[in-house]
């Protein structure tokens, strides 16, 4: 009886801590949301400024998330499965956009594109500085670092046995990767793509420095918040913030649903079959990325 009570108290105290933390977050966000009326929200949402920044945010985030996901799958895979020369160095460099302030990356990009190599790229390949493509580049670099970490965790948790069996059944290494590894990790890849998209929506620091905040040209939702604050339009800043929060909550909800549907099939799964890389793996390691204007 004693142990049952002790068990219950243990879990109750942890649950209470979780509720308290969620409550504090909700309190802070609610206090911001209370500053605007529903009418204000509707008016702001209809404004050209917010609409163009939403469109640009969605467009750039979609492109960046796609590129980040495509990059993260092979890089996450090799980092999870192989030991190679200077792997620790590659891992350390890949994590810089996470560990260093993202603003640093914006500055580095700006200086890089003023160098000879950067100017050659801008003159002959593509213009990035203070352009929409610059937003995509910033979002890609920052989000890829997160996506690589998520995918690395996924592949760490995914058994390599099905791949090995594919090798004995006639596949070469590429065949096993594309026919077995990728299909097995597909639910997790979808979740990573979703989280990457949400993360891209919130990237701020590097865009501020490298792409600038040119009204109607390189203005995305995260920079709109800053621009509106600077011009004293608090209501518009709050509406842009609320939009990012809605994105964050929606993406997390979709990711959770995806995770649940896979979890359900995992319950009925026999011990015989390999555990597919579940989005849970991603979910456990990823700080909820959506709507972050932390950088």
């Amino acid at each position: 009886m004693m142990s049952l009570n002790c068990e219950r108290r243990f879990w109750l105290s942890l649950q209470l801590l979780a509720f308290c933390f969620a409550g504090v977050l909700l309190w802070i966000l609610a206090s911001m949301a209370m500053r605007v009326s529903l009418g204000d929200v509707v008016v702001m949402l209809m404004s050209d400024g917010i609409q163009s920044s939403v469109k640009l945010s969605i467009m750039t985030s979609s492109i960046s998330a796609a590129i980040a996901t495509l990059l993260s799958v092979p890089i996450g895979y090799v980092l999870a499965r192989r030991t190679f020369f200077a792997k620790w160095l590659v891992e350390a460099i890949c994590i810089i956009p996470i560990s260093a302030p993202p603003l640093v990356f914006g500055l580095a990009l700006l200086i890089f594109f003023q160098s000879t190599a950067g100017q050659l790229i801008e003159a002959n390949v593509w213009k990035f500085t203070f352009q929409v493509s610059g937003i995509v580049l910033c979002q890609c670099l920052i989000t890829s670092a997160y996506a690589i970490q998520w995918m690395q965790t996924v592949f760490h948790q995914q058994s390599n046995r099905p791949e090995q069996i594919a090798l004995t059944l006639g596949c070469n290494r590429w065949g096993a990767f594309f026919r077995v590894t990728i299909p097995e990790a597909r639910p997790a890849i979808t979740t990573v793509a979703l989280m990457a998209w949400a993360h891209c929506m919130g990237v701020f620091g590097p865009i501020l420095v490298f792409a600038g905040m040119i009204r109607g040209r390189t203005e995305v939702l995260s920079t709109t918040i800053w621009l509106e604050l600077q011009s004293g339009n608090l209501e518009a800043a709050i509406v842009a913030s609320l939009l990012l929060i809605v994105v964050a909550v929606s993406v997390t909800a979709i990711a959770k649903r995806l995770q649940l549907s896979i979890g359900r099939s995992a319950v009925t799964r026999s011990a015989a079959t390999q555990t597919a890389a579940t989005p849970a793996a991603v979910d456990q390691t990823a700080a909820t990325p959506a709507g972050r204007a932390d950088d």
Binding site: T168, S265, R269, S270, T273, Q274
Partner: protein
Amino acid sequence: MIELHQLGIQRGEFCLQGIDLKIPTSAYSSFIGASGTGKTTILECITGLLQPSAGKLLLNGQDCTTMAAADRGIGYVPQDLGLFSWLNVQKNLAFGLNRQKVSADEQRQRTVEVTEALQLADLLKSRVTTLSRGQAQRVALGRVLVMRPKILVLDEPLSSLDAATKNLVTDVLAKFHAKHLCTVLHVTHHEADIDAMCDVRCEIQDGQVICCEK
């Protein structure tokens, strides 16, 4: 024939040195030994999933030490099965046949033969994630048998089967061995299960494999 000459295997901290093993062509061999002695490691080396650090590996007289797993023509059923969880039973069975570009008619014939023998016919459209351990084990075995390999490497394929299914699978293995005259290396902790069909008994002791014909 499976021949290992002074094979050395390094896997992290685990190390095996100077392994010698000879299993004659078409022999059915049991492979026993305590847990953690390196049976699975040796099997993975034979199948080409693990590269030996020293020595030679010959399959049917050919030096296969550095040959890719796909080219060795070995059917391998690991302990953890490695089924393709996003595919149904039928597609799991057909995976290897598709890679080897076996014609549709031939595929159908082989699949029917194996599914009937292993009583999998009713499960063909089921996702492997919905199968019981025993059913999954039969699918993993079927996936290999449809390939008709010359060498069959089995890592405890009877471990989670009830008595009736164990008899069924043992019977299927015996018939397959007799019909296709393949060389079989069968890891087991219950020698009695396959005693009747074994020609060779291999035991791993103190890092060495001792084989004797029965």
